[in-house]
């Protein structure tokens, strides 16, 4: 029983993860698309897979959804082992593919009714769910139009709607905002936030750092087929060890001020520049008061203070030596 194995592996866990995968591997001939990926998504959690083009996000998701046979590794969804034949495990997932996968010759409503039927919905329940998801993605007034006549953003929203019909326990979104205008993009992000707010578990892939930061409770950073870091945004940044940066502009003996800052508890380093001092600290918010006190002690008149936290871009750069986006 795979369920039993899962439970004994993590005896401290009282809540069964919606998705558990480990050791995933997939090679296409010589090219290793996914080398080693494993993570878990807890009920109600939004988990982000953040990585550049070609990192292996879609390949990972395909294995998670039972669309791709894996060379190695395990996937359990809602406690059931996943494979291309595992219909019960697949029933727990709502997949929104990276590229719009709808019948362009049918209306959004016809598409949704069809996919709803495949998910086992029928009759009044089907009609109600179709209306609901059209509302969620803001397409209710265009439901009767052929998908082929939709704009790119509308197609993507309809594409998302088709993944929501059966209220999946795990919603899997593969880069749902690529190539859409800012308005549609915001609408998509808001829908995802709303669904997560209702308690749906979400697996979200993106190469946009801001999306991962905004939506995800936890983020896995993926590069060249490997999960190279994982945690909340704060954990990931902390893992970086570079700390926040506090820049104080002012006049006076900036060198003495910098030296004083470097001695403060929690300080990682300080440097006097032209008209300002840059202090790197473990946490910007708690370091502000001691820094201002040090300025007073060294007779520096403070003009302004700016705190910058490192972002996931910096984390990615530190981990891989390259930028997330080129």
């Amino acid at each position: 029983m795979p369920d039993a194995a899962t439970v004994t592996d993590r005896p401290e866990t009282s809540v069964e993860p919606v998705l558990q995968c480990r050791g995933l591997r997939k090679a296409y001939g010589e090219r290793v698309a996914v080398a080693d990926v494993g993570f878990a998504v807890a009920p109600g959690e939004t988990y982000g897979l953040l990585g550049p083009n070609g990192a292996g996000k879609t390949t990972t998701i395909s294995m998670v959804c039972g669309l791709l046979r894996r060379d190695a590794g395990e996937v359990t969804v809602a406690g059931r082992p996943m494979s291309p034949e595992a219909t019960d495990a697949k029933a727990a997932i709502g997949l929104v593919p990276q590229d719009v996968a709808l019948y362009e010759d049918l209306s959004a409503e016809e598409n949704l009714r069809f996919f709803g039927r495949l998910q086992g919905l029928s009759g009044r329940e089907l009609a109600a769910r179709v209306a609901e998801v059209l509302e969620v993605v803001g397409l209710a007034d265009r439901a009767g139009d052929r998908v082929g006549e939709y704009s790119g953003g509308m197609k993507r929203r309809a594409n998302i709607a088709a993944g929501l019909l059966h209220r999946p326990r795990l919603l899997v979104l593969d880069e749902p905002t690529v190539g859409v205008d800012p308005q549609s993009r915001n609408a998509i992000l808001e829908s995802v936030e709303a669904l997560a707010g209702e308690g749906m578990s979400v697996l979200y892939t993106t190469h946009y750092m801001e999306e991962a930061e905004r939506l995800c409770d936890r983020i896995g950073i993926i590069d060249e087929g490997r999960l190279i870091a994982e945690g909340t945004r704060r954990e990931l940044v902390a893992q970086l060890g570079v700390g926040d940066q506090v820049e104080v502009t002012g006049t006076g003996d900036l060198a003495a001020f910098a030296a004083a800052c470097a001695e403060l508890p929690g300080a990682l380093g300080a440097e006097a520049r032209d008209g300002s001092v840059v202090v790197r600290v473990e946490q910007g918010s708690t370091a502000l008061a001691p820094i201002v006190a040090a300025a007073e002690r060294t007779g520096v008149a403070v003009g302004g203070v700016e705190v910058t936290e490192p972002d996931l871009e910096d984390v990615f750069l530190a981990l891989t030596g390259k930028a997330l986006r080129d």
Binding site: E45, L67, A92, L95, L118, E230
Partner: protein, 413 residues
């Protein structure tokens, strides 16, 4: 690698038993949904409708008009026996529907007329025919161009005309390539055909004009058109699967709680329905306007259904194998027409060398045409085409399984 850690979000709700995965909806309902969806799409596609429903009818009407029973085929007849029996045969040929008989003086004249196309075929009643007939081994020789689609029609008519008098072996010969005419081959053909006829000797079975069905020249072309068109159209329709694959729709279908077998069965059911509608239309037009007698529905319905299933399976296999829709289309049409040629839809397999006939039976068309010949020419029943039906069922199963395996492989790597 970071070990999977559980989030400590306090808001994580406990698993809701009401939302644990529902049992997968039944395959039957999924197949119905898939088929309904495909049909909805098909009926919205005017081009597709034209090619699958209107064009075959137009073509059958055109061919029917050209080959229709009003236009008798000219046939040269040489009576080298001059007996009462041979004269009776010639008279019967003369009286037969669809033939316009002209006497010729010598066999060389007859061959020349066939070669030049002055006549569609030549019939030789050899010297000693009456004696042979008495021994039950009588032979009538049919000289015809094997590449002509009229040959089978003539042959069927000749066989029907003489059938009441004798067990006849119509040995077709290639007038066009006389040098290559092989006696042994002809003998084998003759032997095979003889088996199909009621026992040797003069068989007198309920003689009467009513008993002898009319046979227009269209009787050969009509079944061959049903077979050819159903196949070409259905394979093309099935190959459209490559387009849905390219658009990622088939992948999305597989993400629903269903396997590739169910998905293929649903899509295949729609293609099959369209093929059946098409066959039914052509059969109706043939029967109503051109007096084609398709035989008994008990026999031709399973024949049509099984052949359409083979065609759908081939289409889905092409759609699963192809790299993209362009490649699917590029393969589907020539393959379908090539198989039609090989399988005797352009000219009857009875008039090709045995090796080619054997090779031709690689194509499901050959089996379907064999069955149609039994039903339309010889008015046989379900039992007589059981072998052909079984072979077509075998084609369906094997090709369907291949398509399912190929689709699974193409999708899941």
């Amino acid at each position: 690698m970071v070990a999977p850690t559980r989030t400590d979000r306090p808001t994580a709700p406990p698993p809701d038993p009401a939302r644990s995965p529902a049992p997968a909806p039944g395959a039957g309902r999924a197949i119905a949904a898939l088929a309904g969806n495909e049909l909805r799409r098909a009926f919205r596609d005017r081009t597709f409708l034209f090619f699958s429903l209107v064009l075959p009818v137009l073509i059958i009407v055109l061919i029917g008009t050209v080959f229709g029973e009003d236009q008798d085929l000219p046939v040269a007849v040489l009576d080298a026996d001059g007996s009462a029996a041979s004269r009776a045969i010639v008279e019967d040929l003369d009286a037969a529907e669809g033939l316009q008989v002209a006497d010729v003086g010598s066999e060389s004249d007859l061959r020349r007329d066939v070669r030049t196309g002055a006549v569609a075929a030549g019939v030789v009643v050899p010297a000693g025919f009456a004696d042979d007939l008495a021994r039950g081994e009588a032979t009538i020789e049919l000289v015809a161009d094997p590449t002509s689609s009229a040959t089978a029609a003539v042959q069927a008519t000749v066989r029907a005309a003489v059938g009441d008098h004798a067990a006849v072996v119509a040995a077709a010969r290639t007038a066009a390539e006389e040098g290559g005419a092989d006696e042994e081959e002809a003998a084998r053909t003759a032997a095979r055909l003889a088996e199909e006829l009621p026992g040797p000797g003069v068989t007198v079975t309920a003689v009467g004009a009513d008993d002898e069905p009319e046979r227009g020249n269209f009787d050969y072309t009509a079944p061959s058109n049903v077979v050819l068109f159903t196949f070409v159209n259905t394979v093309m329709a099935g190959a459209l699967l490559a387009l849905d694959r390219q658009r990622g729709i088939v992948r999305r279908l597989l993400a629903t709680p269903h396997g590739t077998g169910t998905i293929l069965a649903g899509i295949g059911a729609a293609k099959l329905s369209i093929a059946l509608a098409q066959s039914a239309l052509v059969l109706a037009v043939g029967a109503l306007f051109f007096d084609v007698d398709w035989g008994t529905p008990v026999a031709y319905v399973p024949l049509i259904v099984l052949f359409a299933m083979v065609a759908a399976a081939v289409g889905l296999l092409v759609g699963s194998l192809a790299r993209d829709p362009d490649q699917a289309a590029a393969v589907a049409v020539p393959a379908a027409i090539g198989l039609g040629m090989l399988g005797g839809c352009m000219w009857p397999l009875e008039i090709v060398p045995p090796v080619m006939r054997a090779i031709g039976h690689v194509a499901p068309h050959a089996w379907a045409m064999d069955a149609w010949r039994d039903l339309v020419f010889d008015h046989r029943g379900l039992g007589d085409i059981a072998v052909e039906l079984a072979v077509l069922a075998g084609f369906t199963v094997v090709l369907g399984l291949l398509a399912a395996r190929q689709l699974r492989r193409a999708l899941t790597g």
